[in-house]
């Protein structure tokens, strides 16, 4: 579990510093990555978030078919994580 959060932090920093992940998106993802206890029961969404950060591309929707993840995907997963966190949709 801790490995997953560590991977998420590393991937987010990599995409923020060397890739094109904007700060406004990197910040809430890092918030998740740095609070493993708070999101411990949300492994599924955190794994999804990690996959989306690793394959983040600003132009994911630009071609004939979707081949990566864009900011809308990450925003949606963050919303899902936090909805579940509030308990409105459960874990």
């Amino acid at each position: 579990m801790n490995t997953l959060f560590k991977e998420l932090e590393e991937a987010t920093l990599e995409q923020y510093i060397h890739g094109e992940l904007p700060q406004w998106l990197a910040d809430p993802v890092l918030e998740v990555a740095r609070n493993p206890q708070q999101y411990a029961e949300k492994e599924y969404q955190v794994e999804m978030l990690l996959a989306q950060v690793l394959e983040y591309d600003v132009y994911a929707e630009a071609g004939c078919c979707k081949w990566a993840y864009d900011h809308e995907d990450i925003k949606r997963t963050l919303r899902w994580l936090n909805e579940a966190q509030k308990g409105s949709k459960g874990a």
Partner: protein, 378 residues
């Protein structure tokens, strides 16, 4: 309850997979085709995540994964779905092997009724077909070659790398029924020459009722499949119907675990196999298929002097196993796989398939041996 040793028939569902699937039954139950609110959006995200998890196992692209109800449907979609384009190109020759599952052989029979010439390659005593015979069978008008990855009855891993070489310069579509090997033998299915791959959820610790056809693109185009059902645009128009999100999520998670825990699972299965082989050796069992080509979690044996149906019945309180002879009391027809391998009728009638997994608990092999030895003396 007896110990379950019939994992080639179906595997138990991995507890983490069952928990995740239940969550999508009870809480996140949206329809991915309704992405107009968060329920639909989350369901769509989960389906796409599963698609990527499955694609990763065979190094395919997520958009090459087409969800189906299982490997049978995937096989049908691959084989029958190519018929129209083959006929349009004037190609009427198709090739498969004698040891395929009925879910491949019967669609080939359907092709024959459509006017295709079906060529069936034989198998050897080792449980494998011969790629040289495939090379000899290929013709300019060969439209499709369908070969399984791992035989369901014997566990024999088929020579796919050699097939890839044979087909390297031939344009025929190559379909592989990977129901028994996906997530268990990883390297073979990463071969880019394979155009179409059928996989099943319930063979890799996911629920029943879900599988996929992985259709690799050639020059950015999917193989020219035609749908077999109509009524919606799901799965790129190839497989209409509302997507079963809990099952798909389960399949995706099972694929993830198959990759992540591959080495540990293999190790557990190999350790279990040592005990199985030791017990069977004391009974004078004869292995059907070559041990060198067998996956570590399955074995097919004939125990001389003990008909398989009697053995299964006598052992039913200790272990749950199956016969691969497929005998029925009224037809006594032996397994088509064992028959193709040249196994005698008597040997086929005493054949047993034992298949286990990383979740299988210890078996009291002394008791198994005692029961079978008493049965032989009776």
């Amino acid at each position: 309850m007896p110990i379950y040793l019939d994992c080639n028939a179906t595997t138990p569902v991995e507890p983490a997979v069952a928990k995740l699937a239940a969550r999508f039954l009870e809480q996140d139950y949206g329809n991915p085709a309704s992405p107009i609110h968060d329920y639909g959006l989350f369901a769509r995200a989960a389906v796409e995540h599963a698609r990527a998890q499955i694609a990763r196992v065979v190094e395919a692209r997520p958009d090459e994964v087409i969800f189906t109800s299982g490997a049978t449907e995937a096989n049908n979609l691959a084989i029958l779905g190519l018929a129209q384009s083959a006929l349009a190109e004037g190609k009427r020759h198709v090739i498969t092997t004698a040891i395929e599952h009925k879910a491949v052989l019967e669609p080939f029979e359907a092709l024959e009724r459509l006017g295709f010439e079906v060529e069936i390659l034989p198998a050897g005593a080792d449980g494998r077909f011969d790629p040289h015979q495939l090379a000899a069978a290929l013709r300019p008008d060969t439209a499709l070659v369908s070969t399984m990855q791992v035989n369901n009855e014997t566990g024999s891993v088929q020579p796919l790398a050699e097939v890839a070489n044979v087909l390297a310069q031939h344009p025929a579509w190559w379909h592989v029924d990977a129901a028994q090997g996906f997530g268990k033998e990883l390297e073979q299915l990463r071969q880019k020459r394979i155009d179409l791959l059928s996989i099943s959820g319930h063979k890799i610790y996911a629920p029943k009722g879900v599988g996929a056809l992985i259709a690799r693109k050639r020059a950015a185009n999917l193989p020219p499949l035609q749908p077999l059902m109509f009524g919606g645009g799901q799965e790129q128009g190839l497989r209409p119907g509302t997507l079963p999100v809990p099952l798909i999520v389960g399949l995706g998670d099972a694929a993830k675990l198959a990759l992540r825990e591959h080495a540990q699972r293999q190790e557990r299965c190999r350790a279990f196999r040592v005990q199985v082989l030791a017990a069977l050796a004391r009974l004078g069992a004869i292995q059907n298929g070559a041990e060198a080509h067998c996956l570590p979690h399955v074995i097919n044996v004939s125990i001389p002097g003990i008909p398989s149906d009697q053995a299964i019945h006598a052992l039913k309180e200790v272990i749950a196993i199956s016969s691969t002879s497929a005998c029925t009391s009224h037809t006594r027809t032996p397994s088509h796989v064992l028959a193709a391998m040249g196994v005698s009728f008597e040997q086929a009638e005493s054949s047993l398939r034992l298949s286990w997994c990383h979740l299988t608990p210890a078996v009291d092999w002394e008791r198994v041996i005692d029961i079978l030895q008493q049965l032989r003396q009776a």
